[in-house]
């Protein structure tokens, strides 16, 4: 990558916007996954009674639904990121690269 292209990209407001948007999405989604997962882990560590409380008229503990929920939600959030990145970020990246190589 030549210095010229690099400086063109760096002064392109679209690029700065892209970096900011992608970082925000990455870190927000990471934070959500961590809050869900460590929420689950902290409940196990400090409130096992809540986790093992069975569902009404059942032997299945609440924590089992929570755990499976964390797995499903994680898979869904990866879907959200891929959808956003494919739909929003990739076209912007293409524009930036095209404008820089003009």
């Amino acid at each position: 990558m030549s210095l010229l292209i690099a400086s063109k990209i760096q002064s392109n407001p679209k690029y700065l916007q892209l970096v900011k948007q992608r970082d925000t999405l990455s870190w927000t989604l990471s934070a959500i996954v961590c809050i869900m997962y460590f929420g689950f882990i902290l409940l196990i560590a400090f409130a096992p009674d809540v986790i093992t409380q069975p569902l009404p008229n059942s032997v299945i503990p609440q924590g089992m639904l929570l755990g499976v929920g964390v797995i499903l939600a994680s898979a869904m959030l990866t879907g959200v990121y891929v959808y956003r990145a494919n739909g929003t970020f990739d076209p912007i990246v293409q524009e930036i690269v095209q404008e820089a190589s003009k």
Binding site: M1, I5, A6, I9, Q10, Y15, L18, V19, R22, D23, L25, S26, W27, L29, S30, V33, C34, M36, Y37, F38, F40, I41, L42, I44, A45, F46, P48, I51, T52, P54, S58, V59, I60, P61, G63, M64, G67, V68, V70, I71, L72, S74, A75, L77, T78, G79, Y81, V82, A85, N86, D90, V93, I96, V97, A100
Partner: protein
């Protein structure tokens, strides 16, 4: 080219003769050997805190006269035949270093997603989680969840940037703007420690599994067959063969686990309520299996729970053989898609293992055909602690299905070991030989040659260590490998990608803090200090050191970087802009090879 092909057939003949040798022993053995391993459990090689080991009793099974398990052998031979065919195909298409390390960067998102699943879902997590659930109930779910949540983090923070910045190893990314020598040595050391210990765990598991299922084949023979096969796959077929072995294995394992879970659910009238209440009624601990936030019988330990949680999540995101998979795809988009597919497959699989574990409580426990001594315990099985899933397949589908699942479990080990061996070899050849010793002046041909020699070397080392560790307590292996990955590879990689201020000094000091800190605390922790070395009460009272080491690594890397006033340090900070442009746009990234 011709030479390669001749050599390939020579090795193939060797492997096949090794197999027929094993078969000969089988035929001639009048009194089959007795499974006498003291702790023949894949489960103990895996996801266990020391308390689990206590809770997963291993038993010296004594099958007096075991008929030869033909179903398993035939299905395993079919798998070996197919994968060797693929290796031959891949060998004719592996010409450059990029072909060898990264499958020519031609792997699609879906293929890589399958291969990721095949690389990651080990026999340990299949047999291990099922066994944890079988003995402890709910507790197994913590591992299912913890081993999955690393994946979204990999996607959000590293996958695409890794593809855009790296070439063959994750050290490429960390050393992108930092000094090659010290960074690569540090990264190679941590990668190799992880790879070699992971290999030992897998080799011991393979030996014990095959020996338990086909007692006529000895432990040593099983490990040698594994070693010979992976050396063949990886030296001849490189990443292409490894990828396809992993894809086939992922299909087999997902298919097999789905059939088992369907079998369990159809037995229980497709009612989870019935499955869980039957399990509670039949398990000797009854309702306790629904309340086990720690292994049954262990004390509540909040700090340990949190540290385990950290280790599972961030360890996944720092495994060198997993990170390496992102260099095989065509571009950042494919890298991203592959994590989505991989996460779905792995999540689905972990939910299945949970059903399989409870299914085993209902169908395997209390069944005299599987239980070692029904008067003593209705849980403890013949052949050791990792057998619940294997016997469940027999309970559901007889000898044929047992043979299938046994072959799948073995295929699983081969796929994981291939990925590990290639990751270890590339750390040695690409990071140490080509970049540090030859300072980037090695030709591609030399580098690939060195890499193949390293594959053979690592294969032999894995076999020898596997044999040496037969009777060892290897329960600390998961804690060791995941702790180093979580405390060294993951934080240094993320800092190098996201933090402009990181300098060589910070990365190197942080990295060694992670390596030395995790190993040191593990050695003085309960598993190694008390159980393996027998030195009395542990100095450091926790099995998983991540909750101490990970923050320390971050602090050390931060302080060592900000106090770095050197000119080279300043240059490294200035080079961040160029790195960021390439990470974000893929401009200058390694292109997919076209042939």
């Amino acid at each position: 080219m011709k030479k390669i092909i001749t050599l390939f057939f020579a090795v193939m003949t060797l492997v096949l003769s090794g197999l027929s040798l094993a078969a000969d022993t089988v035929a001639s053995s009048v009194a089959p050997t007795v499974a006498s391993a003291v702790a023949p459990t894949v489960a103990s090689a895996v996801p266990t805190t020391s308390a689990v080991v206590a809770a997963v009793p291993a038993v010296a099974a004594a099958p007096a006269e075991v008929p030869l398990n033909w179903n398993a052998i035939v299905m395993f031979l079919i798998f070996v035949g197919v994968t060797l065919g693929i290796t031959y195909w891949a060998a004719t298409r592996t010409k450059t270093a990029t072909d060898f390390y990264a499958a020519g960067r031609g792997v699609t998102g879906l293929q890589n997603g399958m291969a990721i699943a095949g690389d990651y879902m080990s026999a340990a997590s299949f047999l291990g989680i099922a066994a944890l659930v079988y003995f402890n109930g709910f507790y197994g779910l913590i591992f299912s969840v913890g081993w999955l949540v690393g994946w979204p983090i990999i996607l959000f923070l590293v996958a695409e940037r890794l593809r855009n910045l790296g070439k063959y190893t994750y050290a490429d990314v960390v050393s992108f703007r930092l000094q090659q020598g010290p960074i690569r040595v540090m990264a190679a050391i941590s990668s190799l420690i992880v790879v070699i210990w992971y290999l030992i765990g897998q080799a011991v598991g393979a030996g014990q599994l095959l020996h338990t299922l086909v007692p006529q084949v000895s432990y040593v023979q099983s490990i040698i067959v594994v070693g010979a096969l992976i050396i063949t796959y990886v030296t001849f077929g490189g990443m292409k063969a490894t990828t396809w072995v992993q894809i086939i294995k992922a299909c087999l394992l997902l298919g097999g686990a789905t059939l088992m879970a369907l079998g369990v659910m159809s037995h229980e009238g497709f009612s989870f309520e019935k499955l869980f209440s039957d399990a509670v009624a039949l398990h000797p601990k009854h309702l306790d299996i629904m309340k086990s936030v720690v292994p049954i019988g262990a004390k509540l330990n909040p700090v340990e729970s949190i540290s385990l949680g950290l280790t599972l999540m961030f360890g996944t995101a720092g495994l060198p053989h997993i990170l390496m998979r992102f260099f095989t795809v065509t571009d950042a988009k494919a890298a991203r898609k592959s994590v989505l597919y991989g996460t779905c497959f792995i999540g689905f699989f972990y939910i299945l293992t949970f059903i399989i574990g409870f299914g085993a409580i209902v169908l395997v426990a209390n069944n005299p055909a599987y239980v070692a001594d029904i008067n003593k315990s209705i849980l403890v099985l013949k052949g050791g602690g990792s057998m619940p899933a294997v016997y469940l397949s027999h309970a559901l589908g007889g000898d044929f299905f047992l043979g299938f699942i046994a072959a799948v479990a073995f295929a699983t080990i081969l796929a994981v070991v291939s990925g590990l061996t290639l990751a270890g070899a590339s750390a040695l050849s690409h990071d140490i030989y080509a970049s540090v010793i030859k300072k980037g002046q090695a030709s591609e041909k030399q580098e690939v040659w060195v890499s193949k020699m390293c594959v053979i070397g690592l294969g032999v080392v894995a076999v020898l260590l596997g044999i040496a560790f037969e009777k060892q307590n290897v329960a600390y292996i998961v804690a060791l490998t995941f702790s180093i990955a979580a405390c060294t590879n993951f934080p240094i990689l993320v800092l190098s990608i996201f933090w402009r201020g990181l300098t060589t000094r910070g990365a190197v000091m942080g990295g060694y803090t992670g390596i030395i800190g995790s190993i040191g605390l593990l050695v003085i922790g309960p598993t190694v200090w008390t159980k393996v070395l027998g030195m009395g009460p542990a100095i450091f009272p926790y099995d998983f050191p991540t909750f101490v080491v990970l923050p320390t690594v971050l602090i050390v890397a931060y302080v060592a970087s900000v106090t770095d006033k050197s000119a080279s340090g300043q240059k490294e900070r200035d080079a961040y802009d160029a790195q960021l442009i390439r990470a974000e746009t893929g401009l200058g990234a390694e292109a997919a090879a076209v042939h």
